[in-house]
């Protein structure tokens, strides 16, 4: 019997979980975001997309960023990747300020960004070749990354021959081939169907665990965030501010059965409360008069 979500305190962590977070915070900080603000100038006055965002990502941490649409999630990750510049504040990677995009921060986009004129293998080799590494070594390395994402038999296929999930797996391999300090993922599974998405989530968790990489993952899907993350950063909209950084009490290794466990549900309930306050939710109740559109007798 599952108790009602409201009655569970998601803060209540089991001893192993709380020990895990203590250890996590002892690790070195990979990415540090310091008082980050982004203002977009527009004709109708400036729009503040992000306001004083402050957080750290620790080594080997899996962090998810979640928030209502328009809260600046994408702006945040684009600034971290160096594709946009911040208005004020700083982004530090291993303590050094970030300027512009670079191979030390791998990025996986929501849209498919494989180069259509390159084969799977050539796509994975792209980053190392840009860095000027030797062809032979790069190719052997690329083969390993492709094997890691389970696409060895497709290494000579072109992207248009792959399914959406396969494309994103190649995109992950391509980003990892540069051996980045952190992997930034901007709703990478957003365009996939539910089954493929669940499969991709498990793949990602496996890769993360086996390679000990650090991941910052943006999503608008609560289940996805709770299933994947160590910690979840909840952003508030207008302006985008950090609402809360919460520690997910669900033990690892994760599996899909945990979706109905009390910790999972309580965490989800808590985030839901943050994103959709009580007052807002009740406005959704539409009047619902009784109708018989099919014309049959209604008992």
């Amino acid at each position: 019997m599952i108790p009602p979500a409201e009655t569970i305190d998601y803060h209540a962590q089991s001893p192993e979980v709380s020990e895990r977070f203590t250890k996590l915070k002892e690790r070195p900080v990979v990415l540090s975001v310091d008082d980050l603000t982004k203002v977009f100038p527009s004709r109708n006055g400036d729009v503040t997309a992000l306001k004083s965002v402050d957080f750290e990502v620790y080594r080997r941490e899996f962090m998810c960023v979640i928030g209502p649409s328009g809260c600046g999630k994408s702006t945040l990750i684009r600034i971290l990747a160096g594709l946009e510049t911040e208005t004020s504040g700083a982004v530090l990677l291993d303590g050094n300020p970030v300027a512009g995009p670079g191979p030390d921060r791998g990025m996986v986009f929501q849209s498919y960004t494989l180069f259509p004129w390159l084969t799977v293998k050539q796509n994975v080799m792209f980053g190392p070749k840009m860095a000027g590494h030797k062809e032979a070594g790069v190719e052997a390395d690329a083969r390993q990354w492709i094997e890691l994402v389970g696409l060895s038999q497709f290494e000579n296929s072109y992207p248009h021959q792959l399914s959406g999930g396969m494309k994103q797996r190649v995109a992950i391999a391509r980003a990892l081939a540069n051996r980045p300090r952190i992997l930034l993922m901007d709703e990478p599974f957003g365009a996939l169907d539910a089954q493929t998405r669940a499969q991709m989530q498990s793949y990602l968790l496996q890769i993360w665990r086996n390679l000990d990489i650090t991941i910052l993952f943006i999503t608008h899907d609560l289940d996805e965030a709770i299933y994947l993350a160590d910690r979840i950063l909840v952003l508030k909209a207008n302006p985008g501010e950090v609402d809360e950084i919460l520690e997910v009490p669900v033990p690892r290794p994760r599996n899909l059965d945990q979706f109905i466990e009390p910790e999972f549900i309580a965490t989800k309930h808590h985030i839901n409360q943050l994103i959709h306050p009580e007052s807002e939710r009740h406005q959704d109740n539409l009047p619902f008069p009784r109708m018989t559109p099919l014309g049959d007798d209604v008992e």
Partner: protein
């Protein structure tokens, strides 16, 4: 075969629903057959249009300066007038012959000259009936003999036939002629005026719409005329025209593509180059023709320059637009993978736009073709256009048509081949390399396939 029944249940007209490959092929065939059919119908069905009468037999009218010969076209309205004028002339001659002075004051020699004309008016009809050879139209002896045969009923003209009225006139004239000399003798030639044959003709279209068979025949003929003196053969003309088109186009592409790519990549160059290019392209290329002749003198240089001007400015704008349309996320992804600014241009922008660039150049090659005719009129006329111009002035439209159609065919097939090749050059695009499913290839193979199917159907046990 099992698919046939299913296909039959599909509607032919449904909003944005793809037709089956078989139906698509059939429609492609019809798309070409239909205009050809209309052209044939208008040409071969005498009750369709045919506003003119083409003379098979002409006549000379006294005191009228305009001379019509067999083969000329007169309007349907005028033809009966022409006939009745000749009949009236014959009536008057009859009265004159019955009067005191049958020669009406004319000299014997002028009457003989007029009589010879009357005699020879029958020649075109005789040639058509193959009684005479093509070059015998002034062979008076043979013509005289033919008059005799017709008058005696020994032989009759069939295709085309001589009208009853004219046979009577032939007999009457022959009576007078044979009384003087049964065989042709220029010394004894009749000096009594003869009756004129009444003009005959058949309904026809104006000369600017020759029939398909005629266009095909002249097409074959003009291609077999070898080069002679200063006049190049048709093949040489085609080669020359291709040189102008491709010369101008390749030059424009060679200079324009890099400029367009750079404009599409760097806003700096876009702002610097595109506004003026945009302005320049509105100045029609032909307006520069005299200027180009002044700069590049005669021969091919100003022609190629005209094709260049007509294509280049358009090309720069099209290519820069194509470059700008490259997916931004691809460029961003490349940057997060560590590509430098220079690597972005060489390793992402250029390979990324190649398939679209290929399509652009295909379309722009079509543009270059449209400038060909004007370019070939610049300075010294040349190539296919010179032929069209010259023959068109003489109203030899049956010679003009094959050349116009040929230009269309060259352009069309170049484009189709290029679109086929695209699949081979860019195997990663979705319109990949499946030559056999290409509509034009299927259309070309349609007839042989149909025959094959009919054969296999008629021999079910062959397998």
């Amino acid at each position: 075969m099992s698919g046939l029944g299913k296909d039959a249940r599909e509607p032919w007209f449904a909003v944005r629903r793809e037709l089956s490959p078989k139906r698509a092929t059939v429609l492609t065939v019809i798309s070409f057959a239909l205009p050809l059919l209309i052209w044939s119908a208008v040409s071969y069905l005498p009750f369709l249009w045919h506003p003119d009468v083409q003379l098979q037999l002409s006549a000379h009218r006294k005191d009228v300066a305009t001379v019509y010969v067999a083969g000329d076209r007169v309007s349907k309205g005028f033809f009966p007038e022409f006939q009745s004028a000749v009949r009236k002339q014959n009536e008057e001659l009859k009265e004159q012959l019955a009067s005191e002075d049958p020669l009406d004051g004319a000299s014997e020699s002028s009457v003989r000259r007029a009589n010879k004309k009357v005699l020879r008016h029958l020649a075109p009809l005789l040639i058509k009936n193959r009684w005479l050879k093509d070059d015998q139209n002034t062979d008076d002896e043979a013509i005289y003999h033919a008059w005799g045969e017709i008058a005696s009923g020994e032989n009759t003209l069939k295709r085309p036939a001589l009208s009853e009225e004219n046979i009577a006139i032939v007999q009457e004239n022959w009576k007078a002629m044979s009384a003087i000399a049964p065989n042709y003798d220029s010394d004894l030639f009749i000096s009594v005026p003869l009756f004129s044959l009444v003009p005959q003709g058949k309904a026809s279209n104006p000369d600017y719409l020759p029939a398909p068979d005629r266009v095909l025949m002249t097409g074959v003929k003009i291609f077999n005329i070898p080069a002679e003196g200063g006049r190049p053969s048709m093949i040489q003309r085609v080669g020359h025209s291709l040189q102008i088109v491709f010369g101008g186009f390749l030059l424009a592409a060679l200079v324009g593509v890099p400029i367009g790519v750079v404009c599409g990549t760097y806003p700096f160059f876009s702002r610097l180059i595109e506004p003026f290019t945009d302005f320049f392209r509105y100045m029609p290329a032909p307006t520069f023709s005299t200027l180009l002749v002044a700069i590049f003198l005669a021969n091919d240089a100003p022609k190629i320059a005209l094709v260049f001007i007509g294509t280049f400015f358009q090309l720069v704008l099209v290519v820069s637009n194509t470059t700008r349309r490259l997916d931004m996320p691809l460029l961003e992804a490349a940057q997060t993978l560590g590509a430098s600014q220079r690597q972005l241009l060489a390793k992402v922008v250029v390979p990324g736009i190649l398939p679209s660039l290929y399509d652009d150049l295909r379309i722009l090659l079509g543009w270059a073709w449209t400038w060909l005719v004007i370019a070939e009129l610049v300075g010294v006329k040349s190539g296919l256009t010179e032929f069209i111009e010259t023959q068109g002035r003489f109203r030899n439209f049956d010679l003009v048509f094959p050349v116009i159609i040929l230009i269309g065919l060259i352009g069309f097939f170049t484009d189709q081949i290029l679109s086929l090749v695209k699949g081979l050059v860019f195997p990663y695009t979705d319109d990949g390399p499946k030559a056999s499913s290409h509509p034009i290839v299927k259309t070309v193979l349609f007839i042989p396939r149909l025959i094959k199917r009919l054969i296999s159907k008629s021999q079910p046990d062959a397998a």
